[in-house]
Structure formats: C-alpha cells, structure tokens
Symmetry: C2
Subunit: 155 residues, 2 copies
C-alpha cells in the first residue's frame, strides 16, 4: 500500500524546513506521510519526554502530528486531482488555516502512534482533511485540518 517515498520527501528544499515534517529540519519531528491514492498513513514513535503526564502523550504533539499529516494529505490529494505526479512544478504545498482536535482518550506513550488521513472536501485552493491518531489499535484522537494552498509568490 505504501509508497517508498514519503509525501514530505517530494517537498522542495525551501518547503522542507518545517519543524513538524521538514526533512531538512534536524531538530524537528520529521513526520513522514504516505498516500495510497485514497488514504494517507504515518507512524510516529514519541520520545520519552513527549508526555503530558507520565505514561501519556502530550496533546500538543498529537496536534502537531495531525497538522503535518493533514497538510501532507492535502498536497498528495491535490496532485492526484490534477493528474500530476508529486514533486512536479508548480509545487502544490499547503499551510494550515485551522485545526480542530478532539482528544478521545489518553494516548499511551510506549508505542507507535498511527495516523490515517483522508480528504473530506476539496474546493479551489482549500482542502479539508480528516485525520485519526491511534495507539495500540484504538483511536485516541480525531482531527480536522483546513489546509490552504500556498500562493506561488510565497514559495
């Protein structure tokens, strides 16, 4: 299902500095998302210090994962909608206009977090993506991202 190359690995160098998902930000989280044409997937192993309370993942990290996975999903879906390969010019790169996260249950930290994303709506430069975050096969958080395509003159 998964491509070898992550969505974020197609981002151009100037667009690859993000603390959450930039492959060139060595201090960052380097979130990697994969697109199968319908859904997006990502896995993330929290560090021991990414806690809210001992044993449970910090909500700000969860929001960060959902954020970057959501904008990555928007990019992959936008290329697909235009019938183009990811990485081709002009670059389709998205920023977050809004994020909503519902924390359904405490997220245990000593495991791999799994994210799934899909497109809820796509209209013009706006893509709304829905993301779930699971741990140990249980959904712990659900998020929705309104992603906006970055104008060419900002890149």
């Amino acid at each position: 299902m998964k491509e070898k190359k992550a969505i974020q690995d197609y981002y151009s160098k100037p667009m690859s500095q993000c603390y959450g998902c930039g492959r060139l930000n060595d201090a960052g989280l380097k979130i990697k998302s994969y697109w199968d044409g319908v859904e997006s997937f990502a896995s993330f192993e929290p560090k021991s210090y990414h806690i809210a309370f001992p044993g449970f993942v910090y909500g700000g990290l969860i929001a960060s994962l959902i954020d970057c996975h959501g904008t990555g999903t928007a990019a992959a879906a936008a290329y697909q909608a235009e019938g183009r390969e990811m990485g081709t010019e002009p670059e389709l790169r998205f920023v977050t206009a809004s994020i909503q996260v519902n924390y359904l249950k405490p997220t245990p930290i000593n495991c791999i977090l799994e994210l799934k994303g899909k497109v809820k709506e796509m209209k013009g430069k706006k893509v709304i993506t829905e993301v779930t975050l699971s741990a140990e096969n249980e959904i712990c958080a659900k998020g929705e991202i309104v992603a906006i395509r970055i104008p060419d003159n900002m890149k």
Copy 2:
C-alpha cells in the same frame, strides 16, 4: 499585573512533567502563564528551528502554546471560582478535551510571542478558555480549548 509565580509553578510534581509546560520536563517548552484574576498572560520566544517555513513559526508550536496556556488558565480560574489559593489541595488540574486553532496570519519567528487567555464558560468540571497569540502587536492566531478537570484518582 503579573504574579511572580506562574500558574504552572503551582502544579504538583506528578503534574509538572508536561512537555509543553512542566517545570520538571527539561526537554520541554516550559511555558509559563500568569493570571491576574481576569485574564492570563504568557510570553514565549521560539527557537530558530520552530519554523514552518523560513521566517515563520510552526503551527504545531502555536497549538502547543495555546493548549498549555488554556489549561493553565482553566486551573487558575477554577481555584478562583472556589475562593482558594492556587497550589492548595485538592489540586485542580486540567487536561484538554478539544482544541480549535484558527491561524489568521503567518506568525513571524524573530520576536516574542504573547498569549492572552480568558474563560469563556465554566460549568462543573469543564472550563472553556479562549486564547489569542500575538506577535509584534498583531493577533496571528486564536484558539479555544475545552479543558476538563482531571479526576482525583488519575493524579
């Protein structure tokens, strides 16, 4: 206006491990919020690597700041509503049930970010807080946190 001791400095040791605001999490952001009886305030200086794109703050960091500032505001307001001093037992500590952040404009990184919070609604164990994040005197993001008081048996 500001008290010398931050809201988070009143949290008990087990409740002070948070990556966002725990004074005992040395890898964390150590967000400090102050309460004047009506509003809460926090300042945060992003690190150079906390970027989305060169020059602009990463949205996941903004969500994290709003999250911890919002739950801290909830705690301060809850103590006040009970006519109690912060830090007294039983501890009033809140977790985030949901977060909504609207990113109004790109947030410049080479400056101090200023957060203000206030209570929108308080009912039972739920406190809804509204938080703005400003840079260079302009509001760049607005957030709303639904915070839930942690049951005593979880602490």
